[in-house]
């Protein structure tokens, strides 16, 4: 790279950082105050782009029309944010931690289909910024608009800083970020505060999107592509730190530009293609930052939160009659129903074990994982590669695959247990994404973006009914093992660590070692789920390690109820069945899915099984009261 290209790539990186910063600042603000992991933040960004596009069409491609459109679009998105907060989130603040993520996930699905309905499937390319041409720097032309974006970033940062430090609203936001219960106790109307925070956060997301209109076509993939980046920036910067978000956005934007600028280099005879790193560079940065600085660049250790919801109730073991009846029903399914039910149930068994293993780590062990698909996918790949590349028999591959996934969990877990809360969750995501990008690009070994084919079970297991029983046996045994462990001393120690790390260590529990072991255990069992899944499909693709797969797991656990043992089973079954059923019946199946999930969220804030338990509990109490009267 010459000096000139270094300077130009620096400017490119800074321009790319501007929008990223705006979105992340909004996300950080919302998380800081409400503790909500707002999955729909990317959808707000997308709406900002679509809104700006339509407004510019209406107001004309003049500088006046352009800038009015950008501002109006941002404000309109702010109102959408308010709607989401008032109509949905306000009703579930008292739900268990992370439950709101489920609601925002549903919002993502609904907004995506609304955008498809309103703006159509074709990409919409906005106009160039009117009145702004290009400037020449060091013999190269740069769009003036990019320079403007570079300036807008720090301006918004300054405005946010003034808002947060010089106004009463800012003081309240900062106070709520530290201790929202106390703010409430002091007589501040929390509902209004939260709504206003949502408005500002959504405006920032909308503005980030609208400002991209000369640089990025409005399209339906923007929501999910931006949300991961925004989370990374927020966490790298340190949660709740706007300045940190700015620093992180610049760091990631510039790093990407330089990966592209450096291109392909030869070091000591080895060819390194830096441009391919753009797939994963933000996650690499996040992993490094979190290992070195567990609270991000400018973040502070999270203040101890008073939990808004009641503490998690003790787990109850499902009764033997319940388990036996369930098993008996599952055993007769292949005889009593059509072939497809067994296929669907085989899928559900794999996802059930996947969800139960995730529940083990995020519920009782208290370590949320956003990257649980890593172990599912690595288990699947291990099974496929042991069969196809190592030439092992299928039975061996199936048994060895969980060990491979567990081995990865040994490494990843060692780093992860050193963190806590959302930082831990994001580090698991970083490892998952790094694994994904390696699998995705290592064509000669993993089959690259296509994956591995011909991963079929041995002849004696190949029948769908036989394989159904195999899946039932393996996944059932995995689930039983995990449940059994939860009620062993090891399981109680983990729960003690979740409820009070300090007291657990005081009574001599080496919590970190226990948590590390838990990681390995669930890694291996998620790997088993992946291996069973791989052989039921005959092929494996990188999507088994993707963010989408991790998200599906989270949704299943939350949908069923994180505070119950059988919740993840119900969640996996209902989510898989619902998707299958709804996708068949309607064209706008994503919106329908989203609405169904929203309905469940609002009716059962403890998840389905949690909600049912609460209902039966109330019914019993009512009956016993009647008896005494």
């Amino acid at each position: 790279m010459t000096f000139a290209s270094i300077i130009i790539q620096l400017l490119n990186g800074l321009a790319a950082a501007a929008s990223l910063f705006l979105v992340s600042a909004g996300l950080s603000l919302i998380f800081g105050v409400t503790r909500i992991v707002n999955f729909a933040h990317g959808s707000l960004y997308m709406l900002g782009l679509y809104g700006a596009y339509s407004l510019i069409q209406a107001l004309g491609r003049t500088p006046m029309g352009f800038w009015t459109s950008v501002v109006l679009a941002a404000l309109a998105v702010g109102l959408v944010g308010v709607l989401i907060e008032v109509l949905i989130l306000r009703r579930i603040y008292k739900a268990p931690e992370l439950f709101q993520l489920l609601a925002t996930f549903a919002v993502v699905l609904v907004i995506k289909d609304i955008a498809l309905f309103v703006w159509g499937a074709e990409d919409l390319v906005g106009p160039r910024a009117p009145g702004l041409s290009t400037v020449e720097i060091l013999g190269r032309r740069i769009p003036t608009y990019d320079l403007l974006l570079i300036a807008i970033g720090p301006m918004v940062l300054l405005a946010m800083w003034l808002l947060l430090t010089r106004t009463r609203w800012g003081a309240l936001v900062r106070a709520a970020t530290q201790d929202r219960e106390m703010v409430g106790a002091l007589g501040v109307d929390q509902a209004k505060l939260f709504t206003s925070v949502f408005f500002v956060g959504a405006v920032l997301a909308g503005l980030g999107g609208a400002l991209q209109i000369p640089r990025e076509p409005a399209n339906l993939e923007l929501d999910l592509s931006v949300i991961a980046d925004a989370f990374v920036v927020t966490v790298v910067g340190g949660l709740g730190s706007i300045g940190g978000a700015f620093l992180a956005a610049v760091l990631i934007g510039v790093a990407k530009a330089f990966c592209i600028g450096i291109g392909t280099v030869n070091w000591f005879g080895a060819e390194i293609v830096f441009s391919k790193l753009t797939l994963v560079v933000e996650f690499l940065i996040m992993a490094i930052v979190l290992v070195v600085r567990p609270f991000g660049l400018l973040g502070k250790p999270q203040a101890a939160q008073r939990i808004a919801a009641d503490p998690a109730p003790p787990l109850t073991v499902p009764s033997w009659t319940f388990v036996l009846i369930g098993l008996a029903l599952l055993l007769v399914v292949p005889i009593a129903t059509d072939r497809y039910v067994t296929i669907l149930l085989t899928d559900i068994f794999c996802f059930a074990l996947f969800a139960v293993s995730l529940h083990f780590i995020m519920g009782p062990a208290g370590m949320v994982s956003f990257g649980h698909a890593a172990y599912f996918g690595l288990g699947a790949y291990a099974a496929g590669l042991l069969l196809k590349r190592a030439g092992l028999p299928m039975e061996m591959a199936l048994v060895l695959a969980p060990l491979v996934a567990g081995a990865f969990a040994v490494v990843y877990g060692w780093f992860c247990v050193r963190l806590s809360g959302v930082y831990l969750a994001m580090l698991t995501l970083a490892f998952a994404q790094i694994s994904w990008s390696i699998v995705f690009q290592w064509d000669s070994f993993t089959g690259g973006s296509n994956g591995v084919f011909g991963v079929w079970p041995s002849a004696w297991l190949a029948g769908k009914t036989t394989y159904y029983y195999l899946a039932l046996a393996f996944c059932g045994a995995g689930i039983a093992l995990l449940w059994r462990v939860l009620f062993s001393p090891f399981g109680y120690a983990l729960r003690a660590g979740r409820d009070s790390a300090l007291r657990a260590e005081a009574i001599g529990i080496d919590l970190r070692a226990y948590q590390w072991m838990a990681f390995v255990l669930v890694g291996a069992l998620a790997g088993l789920a992946g291996a069973v899944y791989a052989f039921s499909k005959g092929s494996i693709s990188p999507s088994t390690i993707s963010i989408a797969q991790s998200t599906d797991g989270l949704i299943m656990v939350l949908l069923g109820g994180v505070e119950t043992l059988t919740g993840p089973l119900a969640g996996a079954a209902i989510f898989t069945w619902l998707r299958d059923e709804v996708a068949r019946r309607t064209e706008f199946w994503r919106a329908v899915m989203g609405l169904v999930i929203l309905a469940i969220v609002l009716l059962f804030p403890q998840g389905l099984v949690g909600g049912l338990k609460a209902l039966t509990q109330r019914w019993r109490e009512a009956r016993s009261w009647e008896k005494t009267v």
Binding site: M1, S5, I8, Q9, N12, G13, A15, L116, A121, E122, D123, L124, V125, T134, R140, R141, P143, D146, R215, E216, P217, N219, L220, E221, S225, K256, A257, I260, G261, G263, V273, S275, K276, T278, L279, D338, R339, Y340, I343, D347, F440, G448, S449, N450, G451, F453, G454, Y533, K537, G538, S539, S541, P542, S543, T544, D580, A583, R584, W589, R590
Partner: protein
């Protein structure tokens, strides 16, 4: 008098009728279709319209084997795992006779492998990957669309004619972009010894940092650029490159950029003089295309995209195969499909016995701008059969059984 016996006989006849009737002359033949409708709606909405038009035409003409046809369509969510599940559902619950469809290469390959396992005919409509008929080819899978290799090969004569020495390459970092790049480098080096590939940019699909990429390409001072970008990546690349004047004096080749799905969004930003493959629908005058165009516009009040042609031709191929086989037996269907010729809006195509690739062609030309809209100029049709590798090369790649 109604005796017990006649009554029973009548009842039995009724029962027999009700059992036999659906399987008899009136029940439609079901074709199982699966695609990533929600992940790639820009291509697949027109595709769906295309196949629905074909179904309507076939049934209006009396169907096939004396039965009407019905396409049972499912969304595979762009995910191979889900695709295998819905494929199974189509076969075992819906009673589909065979499978058609799929868009991304990993889904196409997964379903192809599933078809092989289940011993069912599969017509891969849209996946471009070369592997589906070559490296990973199998007896049960046939592919309609002009593949990555074929489309790349179509651009080679123009590239050779220009005789540019320094080439820069940009591609989306997954199967399609990688194979396009590999094919382009191999074919051009063979025809033009001494050609240099000065830089390569692999960009994440849908997330190109266009400004930085364009700058990096320009820094390598290329005489020409080969790109396989499409969709939002293409639009961003074009916008940044034009604004920064990077394409001045540089010849650009871009696969697929002439397809209405990707060309139309560019509008007045359409880069003049780029060499592309595509579909100049408004200028085609062949009788088979005119007939298709008129029917499509009459039904939908919209113009067809390339997806529409693919959807239409997929169903027409399926029907031709059923007709030739004369039954729904898989072995007969496979035998019929091998070497069958089908009339599509792009003319006659043949599903080659050697690798099950159809000879569907594509249009090669240059981009131009007229009235704020992009179009293809100086285009010509290239028949697919003229751009495929030799039989010996294919036998080398394709597994024996």
């Amino acid at each position: 008098m109604l005796t017990r016996n006649t009554f029973l006989a009548g009842a039995a006849a009724l029962v027999a009728l009700s059992v036999v009737a659906p399987a008899g002359a009136q029940a439609p033949i079901k074709i199982g279709e699966l695609n990533s409708y929600k992940v790639f709606p820009a291509f697949l909405e027109p595709y769906k319209k295309g196949f629905e038009l074909a179904v309507e035409e076939v049934n209006a003409a009396g169907g096939v084997l004396g039965r009407k046809i019905e396409v049972v369509s499912r969304d595979d969510n762009g995910n191979p795992g889900d695709a295998v599940r819905v494929a199974e559902e189509l076969l075992s619950r819906e009673g589909a006779s065979f499978l058609v469809g799929t868009f991304p290469s990993n889904v196409g390959l997964a379903v192809a492998d599933f078809a092989k396992q289940r011993k069912v005919l599969f017509i891969a409509a849209e996946p471009l990957t070369d592997k589906i008929v070559w490296d990973q080819g199998n007896a049960y899978t046939f592919r309609l669309r002009t593949s990555t290799y074929m489309q790349t090969a179509m651009l080679i004569p123009d590239a050779v004619k220009l005789n540019k020495k320094r080439w820069a390459i940009v591609y989306p970092n997954y199967e399609y972009g990688q194979s396009a790049t590999a094919a382009f480098k191999k074919l051009l080096s063979a025809k033009q010894p001494g050609v240099e590939f000065v830089t390569e940019q692999a960009t994440p699909l849908g997330k190109i940092d266009a400004g930085a990429v364009v700058q990096a390409l320009a820094d390598a001072k290329p005489d020409a650029i080969f790109s396989s970008l499409f969709g939002p990546d293409l639009a961003k690349f074009v916008r940044e490159g034009q604004q920064r004047g990077v394409f001045k004096g540089v010849e650009v080749f871009n696969l697929l950029a002439g397809e209405p799905e990707y060309l139309d969004p560019l509008k007045e930003e359409t880069p003049d003089g780029w060499y592309v493959t595509g579909y100049p629908w408004s200028e085609l005058k062949t009788p088979e295309h005119t007939k298709f165009l008129d029917a499509y516009q009459a039904k939908y009040k919209d113009y067809p995209r390339l997806g529409s042609v693919v959807g239409y031709a997929t169903i027409m191929s399926a029907v031709a195969i059923i007709k030739k086989a004369g039954s729904l037996d898989q072995d007969k269907l496979i035998a019929a499909a091998s070497g069958i010729t089908v009339l599509t809006p792009f003319g006659m195509v043949e599903y080659r016995p050697i690798d099950h690739q159809s000879t569907m062609g594509a249009y090669v030309g240059k981009l131009g701008v007229k009235d704020g809209k992009g179009y293809m100029k100086e285009w010509r049709f290239v028949d697919g059969k003229d751009v495929l590798p030799s039989d010996a090369e294919i036998k080398e790649m394709r597994p024996a059984k």
